[in-house]
């Protein structure tokens, strides 16, 4: 590979003279500043490389050095709470502007970790089994695992003590092992078995958990035009969902949003552990003005990090905002390498690239025997809000849940603007069974009933717009009113009101039951002859404010409100 030189520079795409000695996906360093890049095409005498940095000044004749292997990242303690670029270079230790060519190490070499070995000399260990444990953050125990490809007898292992990531802590089958290991991001980390999804991932967002739930280890996409609320929804999930580790990949999006995430996550406490939310979060930032090619790597880097924590037995969630920007990076690359475009300029490999990405989600039995998961949630930003465009339509085929955001709802400031018409959740039947087995046999029926009510109301609404609400039959007017109650009292959820930011499953259930109960009672009253005007005059505003005037855990408070309100409704009947 020595002797390879640059022959052509076309933006981030660079051609090299000699392909010999290089392998596809190999990492190379190009030019005097050693700009990192990845081999993306190989011919006998020519290699094409995508460079992860601005290539200004790079010229034919510049030298190239190979790393001798694919793009790998360093995985180990110290990822949590950190901010990294698309190839896992730490951003905290860099100045206000990102100069190119910096090759800093992912993990701090100075930090001390209290390592407690869990195996002894002479034990037989295999890839992925546990060597020992260290407390990476107050919330997360970091298990140091035998790297993939290593197995054998433990020849020696350090005693409990403080160690750096660079220290050798054990020797297994002739390999010296440290606290960290490297992994090629494009390769899924092996597991012992893939398991079907079973338990819900509780997001704390009512419209999702009640109507369009996602299971741990499953996948969901959130398509929506600009400003419809994708980022806010994903950030809310990152803050409040009940996973152990969150990997948040800001892929081709705004720098200010990342500043916001950093600032807020640092200040907020995880309601389950009482620790700072940043302590369970790894941030990967490749903002829209950072080099486009590193966007391509960033989503894989994110999944690799999540798989690493999964292999320790944790439930991890990868959030990618936005997968469309990643797909655009693929498109730009394809067009610069002269690949024939398929739809709208995207390469024909788009759908398989999307499939491969989402397929890295899963609930698994790890090599170490634990049950753990990686859930993948991706934003999709369709041009012109057109949901038939290639990235959206392919993504829909590969994900289990689609949370489609509706421009009209967002315009009416109905947030989260999740459309009940265009969204779907393929895990819902399985999760209804899980709920039934875990104390809530009515879960599935409530979901069905709610969706039906919303669709009925849409139909009635369109009639009302023609004839005026006053000319509708009483039962349909009631449908409209209850649907509005459902929207305002249950589905809408503010990201900024403290009581409303997240809701526990018990409170979610209490709120929904309250609305459905009001509907049932009012229907009965109507049928029993109570005039609709009497019902119209009945004040339902406590139902609307219950969501934010109680605490996020306030199921009992909501039930209290329900008891009073239903009591008042029943007395209507008495006074008829």
């Amino acid at each position: 590979m020595s002797g390879a030189v640059v022959t052509r520079v076309n933006g981030p795409v660079v051609e090299l003279s000699a392909g010999e000695g290089l392998a596809m996906r190999d990492l190379v360093f190009v030019g005097p500043e050693q700009l990192p890049g990845e081999v993306i095409a190989l011919e006998a005498t020519r290699a094409i490389v995508q460079i992860y940095e601005y290539t200004g000044g790079l010229r034919p004749g510049d030298r190239v050095h190979g790393s001798g292997g694919p793009l790998t990242v360093e995985l180990g303690p110290g990822l949590l709470g950190g901010v990294f670029d698309g190839v896992l270079r730490p951003l905290h230790s860099v100045g206000p502007h990102i100069e190119r060519g910096g090759a800093s190490r992912t993990l701090s070499e100075e930090r001390n970790w209290r390592f407690v070995p869990t195996i002894g000399i002479g034990d037989l260990v295999t890839s992925g089994s546990k060597l020992g444990t260290l407390p990476e953050s107050a919330a997360i125990d970091h298990h140091v695992l035998v790297p993939i490809g290593v197995e054998g007898r433990v020849e020696w292992i350090v005693p409990e003590g403080d160690y750096h990531v660079g220290d050798v802590v054990a020797r297994v089958g002739g390999h010296e092992l440290g606290l960290s290991q490297r992994w090629p991001v494009h390769r899924p980390r092996p597991v012992s078995a893939r398991l079907p999804p079973a338990e819900p991932l509780v997001t704390g967002q009512r419209v999702l958990d009640l109507l369009f739930p996602v299971a741990r280890g499953s996948t969901a996409a959130i398509p929506g035009g600009f400003g419809t609320g994708k980022t806010v929804a994903l950030q809310q999930i990152a803050k409040w969902c009940d996973a152990a580790v969150i990997v948040y990949v800001g892929c081709g999006e705004r720098g200010n949003e990342l500043a916001d995430v950093l600032q807020e996550f640092e200040a907020l406490k995880d309601p389950r552990t009482g620790q700072s939310l940043l302590d369970r979060t790894v941030l990967i930032a490749n903002t829209s003005n950072m080099p486009v090619m590193a966007r391509e790597a960033s989503v894989y880097t994110g999944v690799a990090v999540a798989e690493y924590y999964r292999d320790m037995g944790h439930d991890a969630v990868v959030i990618a905002d936005s997968t469309s920007r990643w797909a655009e990076a693929l498109r730009e690359l394809a067009s610069r390498t002269g690949e024939l475009p398929a739809e709208e300029g995207y390469p024909a490999g788009l759908s398989s690239a999307l499939a491969n990405f989402y397929e890295r989600a899963g609930r698994v039995r790890t090599l170490d025997g634990a049950i753990a998961s990686v859930t993948v949630l991706g934003a999709v930003s369709p041009p012109g809000g057109d949901l038939t465009e290639p990235v959206t339509s392919h993504t829909r085929r590969f994900v289990r849940a689609v949370w489609s955001l509706d421009r009209d709802l967002a315009y009416a400031r109905h947030y989260p603007a999740v459309s009940w018409r265009d969204s779907s959740a393929r895990d819902s039947d399985g999760l209804a069974t899980w709920q039934a087995e875990h104390g809530d046999p009515g879960w599935g029926e409530r979901r069905t009933q709610t969706l039906r009510l919303l669709t009925d109301a849409d139909r009635v609404e369109s009639i009302a717009q023609l004839v005026g609400a006053d000319s509708l039959p009483a039962s349909e007017r009631l449908t409209l009113r209850v649907a509005r109650l459902l929207r305002e009292g249950v589905l809408q959820q503010s990201a900024v009101l403290p009581g409303d930011e997240y809701t526990t499953p018990a409170k979610q259930r209490a709120l929904l039951e309250l609305v459905l109960e009001v509907h049932a009672r009012m229907q009965a009253l109507l049928e029993g002859g109570t005039p609709i005007a009497r019902l119209d005059a009945f004040d339902l505003s406590p139902v609307v404010s219950a969501r934010f005037e109680t605490t996020p855990e306030g199921a009992a408070e909501v039930n209290q409100i329900a008891t009073e309100l239903i009591g008042a409704l029943d007395s209507l009947e008495g006074r008829r």
Partner: protein, 469 residues
């Protein structure tokens, strides 16, 4: 530009659109600046778009008209394009490449910076906060501009967006801290440039305005460089000189068309409506230069103005912009036709960062509540108006009718404002209350009881209160 005399190349293989292919080059780097000397002695400038062994494709900023294959000499500078930075730009008017058009001497400075900029490290960004006040009620009141934000104006040909942009550039201020305006005109007709300049005259004299002007008849490729030059100057003023800088760019649609034209000349595969697939990344490389940086006093805020072709918000230019910016201010032809100016469509407009710049301790304690309420009123009034179209206004409920009345006052007393009038936040919010006070207090659900107590001033029986009282 370089210290040693650079090599001059004479072999131009082809000329197509703004691109020339220079042959037999040696050691030329990507994105390097080139100087092209024509046989007439005229000097043009270019940048290297692609370099393949001994061929360099150069994009000529001033265009290739009049160039011949055999008579131009091309020299490469050895580095990507740079401009001098410093306070010397303030009070000056320049063309789109930064050459003075005000009769003054060229702007030189001790320091030069690459116009491509260097991305701000997201981990070192400070989240935007605090407002830039524009003196325009529709903006300050409803969609407050926050320091470090990028907030575009989406307009349509024929609406007064340029007047609005000039008014904002003339009036914008931050209380008591160093401030500057950088105004980049892209592809504007001479008449428009003239009127913008006359509105900004005073600001230029005060020395806190830098003006970059690429007119409609200036070279198209130059239009791609102009915002980069302007932003490089602005970044220096913001992050190295501690000023709060507001960059106003008009018209971004002309910029995008220039990008499309160059892309076509390069024979690239188009994506939507002929625009290249990298339009998003290209625009982001401009707009993401807004922000604040931890530990540094200044800020860079951007207010790009664009016209939506055929008024279509799903057109790639507004669409891609909306995906990058933090909200949008939408102007409505329908409102303008009814005589409302500036014709801000309240429901379509949003400043996503508003709560970081307005409210208690920032503008006024009731600001967020009253602005949310005005949005609520606008939404409800729209429903009432839709209903009125079907059943007639007489059939509306009393509440619906009061919303229609409030909307009229909202449009006439709150939105309507002349281009020479600067309103304080106090005045703006008092006008907002005059609108809200037309409704019964129980309709004002977005306002807390103490705020309502303090600010609600119901109308007297015989008409609306005088908002200027």
């Amino acid at each position: 530009m370089s210290s040693q005399a650079p090599i001059e190349y004479r072999a131009i293989g082809s000329i197509r659109g703004p691109l020339i292919v220079v042959q037999d080059v040696d050691g030329v780097g990507w994105d390097e600046v080139a100087e092209i000397r024509l046989s007439t002695g005229e000097l043009r400038h270019g940048t290297v778009l692609d370099v393949d062994r001994d061929l360099a494709v150069v994009e000529v900023l001033e265009g290739t008209a009049g160039m011949r294959l055999d008579s131009a000499r091309v020299a490469f500078s050895g580095s990507p394009m740079q401009v001098p930075v410093g306070e010397g730009w303030l009070g000056r008017a320049c063309n789109g490449r930064g050459e003075p058009i005000d009769g003054g001497p060229p702007i030189t400075g001790g320091e030069r910076r690459p116009v491509a900029g260097t991305p701000i490290n997201p981990a070192q960004r400070a989240a935007p906060n605090e407002a830039i006040l524009t003196g325009v009620s529709a903006i300050d009141g409803l969609a407050t501009l926050v320091r470090g934000q990028k907030l575009p104006v989406f307009s349509v040909g024929g609406l007064p967006h340029l007047e609005l942009a000039a008014q904002i550039a003339a009036q914008a201020h931050v209380a008591g801290e160093p401030f500057a305006i950088v105004f980049a005109a892209l592809g504007l007709p001479h008449a428009d440039v003239h009127s913008v300049r006359s509105v900004l005259e005073r600001r230029a004299q005060l020395g806190d305005l830098a003006l970059f002007i690429n007119t409609a008849d200036d070279p198209v490729v130059e239009r791609i460089v102009t915002p980069r030059v302007a932003l490089t100057v602005a970044e220096h003023l913001a992050f190295e000189r501690g000023r709060h800088v507001l960059v106003v760019i008009a018209d971004l649609t002309n910029y995008c068309e220039a990008v499309r034209q160059v892309s076509a000349a390069r024979g690239e595969i188009p994506s939507r409506r002929g625009y290249p697939g990298y339009l998003y990344s290209d625009l982001a490389s401009l707009l993401e230069r807004a922000g604040r940086i931890k530990g540094l006093p200044g800020s860079l805020t951007q207010l790009p103005v664009l016209t939506m072709p055929a008024g279509d918000i799903t057109h790639p230019v507004p669409d891609v912009t909306g995906y990058i910016t933090e909200g949008q201010l939408v102007l409505s032809p329908e409102l303008y036709a009814r005589g409302i100016s500036p014709p801000l469509d309240a429901l379509g407009s949003l400043s996503r960062l508003m709560r970081h710049g307005a409210g208690p301790g920032l503008t006024r304690e009731d600001h967020l509540e009253i602005s949310a309420q005005l949005y609520g009123i606008a939404a409800r009034a729209r429903q009432a108006a839709d209903l009125a179209e079907v059943v007639g206004e007489d059939a509306l409920s009393d509440a619906d009718r009061s919303y229609l009345r409030a909307r009229t006052t909202f449009e006439r007393e709150f939105l309507t404002q002349s281009f020479g009038e600067a309103r304080s936040v106090e005045q703006t919010l008092d006008r907002a209350w005059a609108v809200a006070s037309l409704l019964a207090p129980e309709e004002l659900s977005m306002i807390s009881p103490p705020t309502l107590e303090a600010r609600y001033r119901p109308a007297s029986r015989d008409g609306a209160p005088d908002p200027t009282r």
